[in-house]
Structures are given as C-alpha cells and as structure tokens.
C-alpha cells in the first residue's frame, strides 16, 4: 500500500498513541470530568490545562487563547459565525465578509450559511493562477467601505494545491482598519512555521489528525480581545465560547502532537520537500503532459503535489490507482462522494475539464521513497486507461 493522502488524515505519532492510551488508562484522569471539583476532576483538569499550555507554547500563543473543539470544521464554524455575530452586534453595519475564493468547505459553507440565513454579504477575494491572495486585493476590497466589514478569513495554506498565503501581510492590511482576520491553518501546522503571535492573526483553526494527533479533537486559537458568540451553549467550559465536556485523553494527545510536530517541523519540511520534488520530477517523467497546479517552488506545503492529467477524469485515476494499492485523492470530496470540479482550481483560472482531471498527492511523516516508486510505476498505464475511459 502506498498512502499518498496525508492531507486528508495522517497516522497518529507513536508518542501520541502512548499519551492517549496512558491518559485512558489513568483511572483518575479518565474517570474525571475536568469541570468537577473533586480529586478526579482536578486530575482531569490538570491534564487539560497542561495540554493547553503545551499547545499554546508550541504555537506561539497564550494558554488563555486556546479553545479546544472537536474538529477543524467546528473551529472554522465557530470563528466565522461567532466573530461575524459579535462584530455585527457591536455595529449593525458590519455584515460584509471577505474570504478567499479557495477556502475549505468548512469556511466556505459557513460563510454561505451566514449569507443565506443571517443577512451577511460576502466578497470572494480573487486569487492568482497559483492560488494566492494578494494583499492589494484585500486592501481594495476593504477600502471600498471599511466600516461594513465584519471579518476577513484567509487560510494559511490551501488543502488542495498547497499554496501558502501571505498571512502576515494580509493581517496587517486588515488591522489597518481594525478588522479581525481568521486563518484556517489546518494544513499548515507541522508542515510550516506557524507562530500565532508573529503572524498577526486574530483567530486560527487547527485540528489534530493533520499533524499526527488524534481524530476528533481540534482547537481555535482566539485572541483575548476578539469577541466571539458561541455556537454551542451549555456549561461554557471553554472560555464561555464553547461548551461541552472535553475529551481529556484526546486533548492530551493533541497537545503532544502539536509540540512534537512544531519541534520537528524544520527537519520535516526539508525531508518532505525533497521527497515531494522527487515525486514531481518523476511524475512529469512518467506522464510528460501532466500539469503541476499551484506554486512551482517555494510558498507551497512541502508534502503537497497536485497535477492535472489532460484527457483523464480524476475519479477514474483514483479508482485505477486504488485497485493497484496507491491511495490518492481528487481534492476535497463532498459528503455524497461526488467528484465535482474543484472550486480552488476554477478560482485559479483552470478550465472545468482540467479541474476534473486532477489528483492530489500528499506526503506525511510515514512517507518514503517506496511510496513515490509505487505511484510512478503505476501511473503511466493508469493514465492511458483513464484516457480511454473518459466520458464521451
């Protein structure tokens, strides 16, 4: 099996498995509810708070700014909807959302929901042919009327084509007008240097299973001064912004994973970049007309390669590679599993056929040259067959 879909989910680090299982076996911490006042509760709370400190230290933020959630999707929804509601409550003119056209569906659909249910308006910030939002584009959109902008949301790095956004410059532009900026950094943590304080972002989404942590646990880093209306009401466990009893072992695993991923990030970046560059070179050798999408060089996630294979359908390629033990993705699948042309590629100016003919190969901490070998070996015959199987 060659697993080339780490951007969808990457295996838990062995140290994280140890942390989670140890926490599950710790009869006191596992029994306790971190909100309880007795010994078991205190034990659980201590695990949670130490995890919060560990995560904050790894990401260059303060413990009080870490809000644990159950997923990246929850964090994105909380940031987009919560900050929008709070900003509009403070000034009813603020209804406009500025979002990049290449956001993940967790942001995209949260924005669309505010538009269709809450009277928000949205301006999709255009990207260049490599998927990048230029600060001038943001500046122009804000300056059309700075008083009506509720928030800006631009991802740290794109999940499909790996483009790294100029987050620092974008947050500077937003802050000139006192507008908060949220960034979905789900793909970035562990692959890139993510330091919240120096990035300038006001809110940042992360999730465990993209950097060796457990599934089902994430966080929203939310600046102390950023008002945010909760999505989930109840016990108010997380700064009154998020309610729900925390999954203590998962939170502990998330923090350990973040600490390890950040500590190893420079070496990981170097190793993955080299492996990815080898993959790109060899895919081009195997299929000469394959087209690399996204940035060719720097400003790209080190584990990401994304190609269009002219004349092929992405879902045919996926099926044929899967049958040969090579696991890849066509990008981001919707809930019904229907392959739609990627909104990211369309926003980058790709034609619909090229958008349908694409595959994402994403590498992670368990990837080896053998995985690339398996892909490159299977690819020529797979592409040839997929061309014959193209619709019409």
């Amino acid at each position: 099996m060659a697993y080339l879909d780490h951007a969808a989910s990457t295996p838990m680090l062995p140290e994280v498995v140890d942390t989670v299982t140890a926490a599950l076996r710790d009869s006191l911490a596992a029994a306790g509810n971190a909100s309880s006042l007795h010994t078991a509760g205190r034990r659980a709370r201590r695990v949670v708070e130490e995890s919060r400190e560990q995560l904050a230290a790894a990401l260059g933020t303060r413990p009080s700014e870490v809000v644990f959630t159950a997923s990246g999707t929850e964090s994105d929804n909380l940031a987009v909807k919560g900050i929008w509601w709070a900003r509009r409550a403070a000034d009813p003119r603020r209804t406009r959302i500025l979002a990049s056209a290449v956001e993940h569906h967790a942001v995209l659909d949260a924005v669309e929901w505010l538009v269709s249910h809450e009277g928000a308006t949205v301006e999709w910030l255009e990207v260049d042919h490599e998927g990048r939002v230029h600060p001038d584009v943001l500046r122009e959109a804000i300056e059309r009327d700075p008083s009506d902008v509720a928030l800006v949301t631009v991802m740290w790095a794109n999940n499909e084509v790996g483009t790294v956004q100029p987050v620092r410059q974008l947050s500077d532009v937003a802050h000139e007008h006192g507008i908060p900026l949220h960034s979905d950094a789900v793909q970035a943590v562990g692959q890139l240097h993510v330091h919240v304080a120096t990035s300038g972002v006001d809110a940042l989404t992360l999730t465990g299973h993209k950097f060796g942590g457990p599934l089902g646990v994430g966080a929203l880093v939310l600046g102390r001064d950023v008002a945010c209306v909760p999505l989930l009401h109840g016990g108010g466990q997380e700064r009154d912004v998020r309610s729900g009893t925390l999954d203590t072992p998962a939170v502990a695993g998330l923090a350990v994973a973040a600490a390890l991923a950040v500590e190893r990030q420079p070496a990981h970046h170097a190793r993955l970049s080299a492996l990815r560059d080898d993959l790109v070179r060899r895919v081009r050798g195997a299929v000469p007309d394959a087209v690399l999408n996204g940035p060719d060089g720097v400003d790209r996630l080190p584990g990401n390669a994304h190609f269009s294979f002219p004349g092929c359908e992405g879902d045919s390629l996926l099926l044929l590679l899967d049958a040969r033990g090579v696991e890849v993705s066509t990008g981001s699948a919707c809930s019904a599993g229907v392959a739609r042309p990627s909104h990211v590629l369309l926003a980058m100016g790709a034609k619909e056929d090229d958008a349908r003919s694409s595959l994402r190969f994403s590498l992670g901490h368990t990837s080896t040259t053998a995985d690339v070998d398996a892909l490159v070996e299977a690819l020529p015959a797979v592409v040839e067959r997929a061309r014959k199987a193209a619709w019409r």
Binding site: S316, A323, G337, V338
Partner: protein, 349 residues
C-alpha cells in the same frame, strides 16, 4: 471476472452485488449520482437519487468489503433522460424514462466506461434472466423487468450480468436479511425516480408552463372542456379530464389522442381506444427471427401480453394483434416474446 456493480442503495442491486462477490468475482461498486440536487432525507414516496441512498449503497459496499465510488452522472441524466422525458410529453407521446435510462445511462455510458477501465461487465439488480445472450423474464412475474431491458443491444447484454432473474423479490429480501444488510426491508422505489412525489402532471407543468387548449369529443366534434396543458394527458387516461359537458351516451370518456400543436385532447368511448394494428419504429432484434412472425407482444411496462403477427413495414414493424389492445400510448415500447424469451423491441408510433 472483474465486475462493476451499480448500487442504487436499494435491496435488489445490493443482493446482486453480494451474489457476484460470493460467486468469486472481483467486484467494485459504483453509485450513480443522477439528481442534481439530491434530497437529504426521504420525503413522501422515495426516488433513487437521495443522499440517503448513496449512504445506503456505501454501507452495502462496506459490508461486502468492496471498493465504492460515486459517479456523477447528473448532467447526462438530465440531458438524456429528464429533458427527453419532458420533450416527449410535449410532443404528445408517453415516454418510459427507465427504459431510456437503461439505454443511455446504465448500459451505455456506465458500461462503456466500465469496459474502458478494465472491467469485464456491469452487474445490476434488474429482475430478468440473462444467459448466453438470451434475455428472459424473471421468475417473479410481478417484478419482471425484461421489458425495460429489451432495448439493449446484444453487445450491451454481452457486458451485463443479472444475478437476480431466478429469484423472487421475497427471496431477494430474505437473502439481504441473511447477510445482515440494512436495506433488506427498504421500500421499493417509485416508478419515476426523478419525480419523487409521483405528481407527473405537476412536474411537467413546472417545466412546460400552462398551455391551455380544448378537450374535444370524438363522436360529436364538440368542445367538452378546457385543459391546462395537453402534456398532462396520456392516451387511455380516464381520470381527471374535467369535462364540462356530459357525454351524450352517458358513458365514461377516455383520452383517445393528444395533438400538441393545436393543443387538442380528443376524448371518446373506451372501445375507440381498441387497436388491432400498431406500428413499431426503430426495431431492434436480440434474437432475430424471419418475418412475418407469430409471437407474443407486450406494449407497456407490466402490461398484458397479446398474441400477434409481426410484418415488415417500411423499415419498421406492423403488429397485427389477435386481441385488441386498449390505450396504446405512442412512445412506449413494443417488446416481442417467445414464451419468456425476449426477441426484440421497437418504439410504438
């Protein structure tokens, strides 16, 4: 064999795929996404295009331990089946969309792609028997679908596996239950999957708009009512005619013909619907026989079987029926049978 199983999310295709796996074939499953805006949850009578069906299909594939993919055929389904359905009604004919879907989607686009991807055949849950290129009725008369498969070419049938023809529907459900499949007791799908509420006239009215015209009595020539759109009427229909003038003989009136250009719906007594000679256009043989030929013919899905003699007629067929058929609707298929064996088909003119 390497087989591609089309899983609708219903019990028939689930059991067909299970039987293929158990027969030792290498099976991969696909669910065809046909609706552009699939309903999230089932409402009223169900269609075969909901997200819930996609989920049920995926669950079946998981139980069988086979790969599962969704193929998006919504554009093609709209063009080849839904738009065709509306256009045929607008032209005064009565199309059968299941037949068209089999002809253009399931056993054309999907089969072509499957073969190109290296599969040997497509396996479906249709109730009909197929062996050595011979298509026969299902052993379950009530569920037999040989009529909607008769439009396939011999080449298409050569790439098709139908594991359910020897089973009754009850047996299929029992096999699904034995295998722990949640779809074992799922209700049968509605006849027209893309009209989930079953209101065909409303569906057509939404797409074609109001096109009022006269309802004329065939015997007297008098206008006996007004209608909102001739497309809502099918030859042989009795209900919903909204006649304002009672028939002179006091007997029920039926739709005798639909003329889309003048928007005239002609009604008359039931016996005026009786036809002893019908024409079949674009004939196609699965099991070629010399003409003239005496055989059985079925003129609509789940319709009665008539004895007939088939004659060559200007590139088509002229079918002389031994017993008159009532309410033959242009656009449906005439399917010839020798006993339970399908011989060929043509479109009723």
């Amino acid at each position: 064999m390497r087989l591609l199983a089309a899983l609708s999310g219903g019990v028939d295709s689930a059991v067909a795929a299970a039987l293929a796996v158990e027969a030792g074939h290498d099976v991969t499953a696909v669910h065809l996404a046909l609706s552009e805006a699939p309903a999230t949850l089932r409402t009223g009578s169900r269609g075969c295009c909901s997200k819930e069906d996609a989920r049920d299909a995926a669950r079946v594939a998981d139980v069988l331990g086979i790969p599962f993919y969704v193929w998006d055929l919504a554009d093609r389904f709209r063009e080849d089946v839904v738009d065709d359905f509306v256009a045929e009604y607008a032209a005064g004919r009565t199309p059968n969309p299941c037949l068209r879907c089999n002809e253009r989607i399931k056993f054309a686009a999907v089969l072509d792609r499957a073969l190109a991807l290296g599969f040997d055949a497509v396996v479906t849950g249709h109730h009909a028997r197929l062996a050595d290129g011979v298509l026969r009725r299902s052993v379950d008369d009530g569920k037999d679908q040989s009529y909607v498969l008769a439009v396939l070419t011999p080449e298409q049938l050569a790439g098709t596996v139908l594991p359910l023809g020897h089973l009754t529907k009850d047996e299929v459900r029992a096999l699904a239950a034995d295998r722990g499949m949640g779809v074992a007791d799922k209700p049968d799908s509605h006849d027209i999957c893309f009209i989930a509420d079953g209101d065909t006239a409303g569906f057509l009215r939404d797409r074609l708009g109001a096109q009022p015209g006269p309802v004329v009595d065939a015997l007297t020539g008098a206008v006996v009512g007004q209608h909102g759109g001739a497309y809502a009427y099918t030859v042989g229909q009795r209900r919903g005619l909204a006649l304002t003038v009672p028939a002179p003989d006091g007997r029920p009136r039926y739709v005798l013909s639909v003329e889309p250009v003048s928007r005239t719906v002609t009604v008359g007594p039931g016996e005026a619907l009786d036809t002893s000679v019908v024409r079949g256009d674009r004939p196609q043989w699965l099991d070629p026989r010399p003409l003239p030929l005496e055989c059985d013919v079925q003129l609509r899905a789940h319709g009665a079987v008539h004895r007939c003699v088939v004659h060559e007629d200007a590139g088509g067929w002229r079918l002389e029926l031994a017993t008159p058929a009532r309410g033959i609707a242009p656009g449906q298929a005439a399917v010839l049978y020798d006993g339970d064996r399908v011989l060929g088909s043509a479109t009723l003119g």
